[in-house]
């Protein structure tokens, strides 16, 4: 964990409620895809946890969906804005444990940490297959970015306006993967977890956080190993640890 300032360099609108933020700052504390940063906003007491989408040298990429006042303020920031950031939080994905045929499964803005993961997987071996679910075609994001890495991208939308109609799990009918990296809303995590043929994988969890670095117990959830902090012991938990 490191506390430092990041300056917003570029902001790009991806969908009607989601933006890509490119920030400049000290990324040295970030060690794995799937970790997150915790951004302080002047008008809010609690920081806002956001997954690292990608990072290199002094650059940090975040995808932010405006769902409330804090995230809206982030998506409306102007280049030059300086944020106080706690970076390098959480465990991140462990790529070493993947099986032979991994799939990355994302729902909405949950695609963010999967991108950093996919880029690293592509660098050291083959680009993984990615399954992405969105509500509508207009909510789809980062498909081209994944494709540019060489990933095969399967999409599903709830209204069928892009890809398979239905949930992201409906786009995965081939059932030919043996390991999943999953990030998205809780019902989606659960649906993937319930796929009978996909018994192994890593799942990224969310919880309302007091600190984001393990001190307050605000984010504890039950796992098969007992209580675990989403912010410090997670946000990534393996399938066998999860208790719904």
């Amino acid at each position: 964990m490191k506390e430092s300032c990041f300056t917003l360099e570029k902001i790009r609108t991806l969908t009607e409620d989601t933006c890509e933020l490119i920030l400049r700052g000290d990324t040295s504390a970030i060690t794995r895809p799937g970790q997150f940063v915790n951004l302080a906003l002047p008008e809010k007491f609690l920081r806002r946890p956001i997954s690292v989408c990608d990072w290199w040298e002094d650059t940090l990429v975040l995808l932010i969906r405006a769902v409330g006042e804090g995230s809206r303020c982030l998506t409306q920031s102007r280049p030059g804005t300086v944020f106080n950031v706690l970076s390098g939080l959480g465990n991140g994905f462990a790529t070493s444990s993947a099986g032979a045929r991994p799939v990355l499964v994302g729902g909405g803005v949950g695609a963010a940490p999967l991108y950093g993961l996919a880029r690293r997987m592509a660098q050291v071996g083959t680009a993984p297959t990615v399954a992405l679910g969105f509500r509508r075609a207009v909510d789809a994001l980062y498909i081209r970015e994944f494709e540019a890495l060489g990933c095969r991208v399967m999409t599903a939308t709830e209204d069928g306006s892009l890809g398979t109609r239905g949930f992201v799990t409906d786009s995965m009918a081939e059932a030919c993967w043996d390991y999943a990296y999953v990030c998205g809303p809780t019902p989606m995590l659960r649906a993937v977890c319930d796929l009978p043929w996909l018994t192994d994988g890593q799942y990224s969890f969310e919880a309302r956080m007091g600190c984001g670095f393990g001190a307050c117990m605000g984010c504890s959830i039950s796992t098969v190993h007992g209580s675990r902090r989403v912010c410090k012991d997670g946000p990534i938990f393996t399938r066998e640890e999860i208790v719904w």
């Binding site: 506390e3 609690l46 007091g210």
Partner: protein, 304 residues
């Protein structure tokens, strides 16, 4: 050179700044960021007899200039705390620790304090009486003077260490409760704990926290803490640890002038994990500006 040291019922601290219970865990996470030995002391997470998972998610909510928590005293239980956490804390911090003690019955408070009495690294027992009494329909021990005094008497009898009673602010007359604790043998008072509060999720039409209510902390409650510390300073002679919304050296000085001998910092640590260190670094210059050579001269300074 400004003398930052303060004494709490005979226990000398190198400065008055103490991370508040529940916001500093057992110090581990902060020890990765700075040497905990800059602190006056630290009050570790509230300890109960049995291991507790705490409340269901969500346990945290946002509030204007503050936050709500309903963690629900998650901790591994007194035996694990004494066997594993206290020895580890003693390696991180070499001064006297403050043990924050919870309990759901007089007997539990007693047993916990008796066990902690043999813990050398623990300098002060801070007894959190904002817990529901399972033997009295779940009413908080801290909600009236009689039960507050009962807890005080019970724990006072089983330990040689100084006992500070940590008061709940959700009462009409905080001075009367503090006085009852003093008369029952408390060596000091700590206040305030969180203010009972609630947020509602408009879309779900339900209280946001699974526990429905939560405790409000952070800057929002600071002026309430100043007033209550003031009232308790007028009511008792024993030393006071002030707490509630402190986020800067100026805030700490304000609570001290209201009557606090030392100051706990809670929620502010969660937003900025370096808060306590920054406050401690700012204290000498602030003391100079306020014209004191010994910070302890600030205590009660606004009373005439």
């Amino acid at each position: 050179m400004v003398d930052l040291s303060v004494t709490l019922a005979g226990v000398k601290l190198k400065n008055p700044i103490i991370p508040a219970s529940g916001t500093f865990g057992y110090g581990r996470e902060y020890a990765e960021l700075y040497d905990l030995n800059v602190l006056g002391s630290f009050s570790f997470k509230g300890t109960t007899e049995e291991p507790r998972f705490g409340n269901l998610q969500p346990r945290i909510a946002e509030a204007p200039a503050g936050m709500l928590n309903a963690v629900g005293l998650q901790n591994p239980g007194i035996d694990a705390v004494i066997d594993q956490e206290v020895p580890h804390m003693a390696t991180l911090f070499h001064g006297p620790l403050i043990a924050n003690v919870g309990g759901f019955s007089l007997r539990e408070y007693e047993d916990n304090c008796r066990k902690l009495n043999d813990c050398a690294p623990v300098g002060i027992l801070e007894v959190n009486i904002s817990c529901p009494n399972v033997h009295a329909g779940g009413q908080n021990f801290g909600s009236d003077a009689r039960s507050a005094a009962q807890v005080t008497r019970a724990v006072r009898a089983v330990t040689d260490k100084p006992v500070f009673i940590k008061l709940s602010p959700n009462v009409g007359d905080i001075g009367a409760i503090a006085r009852a604790c003093e008369e029952a043998g408390a060596n000091g008072i700590c206040l305030i704990n969180t203010v009972l509060a609630m947020r509602i999720d408009l879309d779900r039409r339900r209280p946001l926290l699974a526990n429905r209510t939560g405790g409000l902390s952070g800057p929002a409650i600071f002026p309430i803490a100043v007033r209550m510390v003031w009232d308790v300073y007028e009511a008792v002679k024993i030393p006071i640890i002030g707490c509630g919304g402190v986020a800067s050296a100026e805030d700490a000085a304000e609570l001290m002038m209201a009557g606090a001998a030392a100051v706990e910092v809670g929620a502010a640590n969660l937003r900025d994990p370096y808060t306590c260190k920054k406050i401690i670094e700012a204290l000498p210059a602030l003391c100079s500006r306020l014209g004191v050579n010994k910070i302890s001269e600030l205590t009660g300074g606004a009373h005439t």
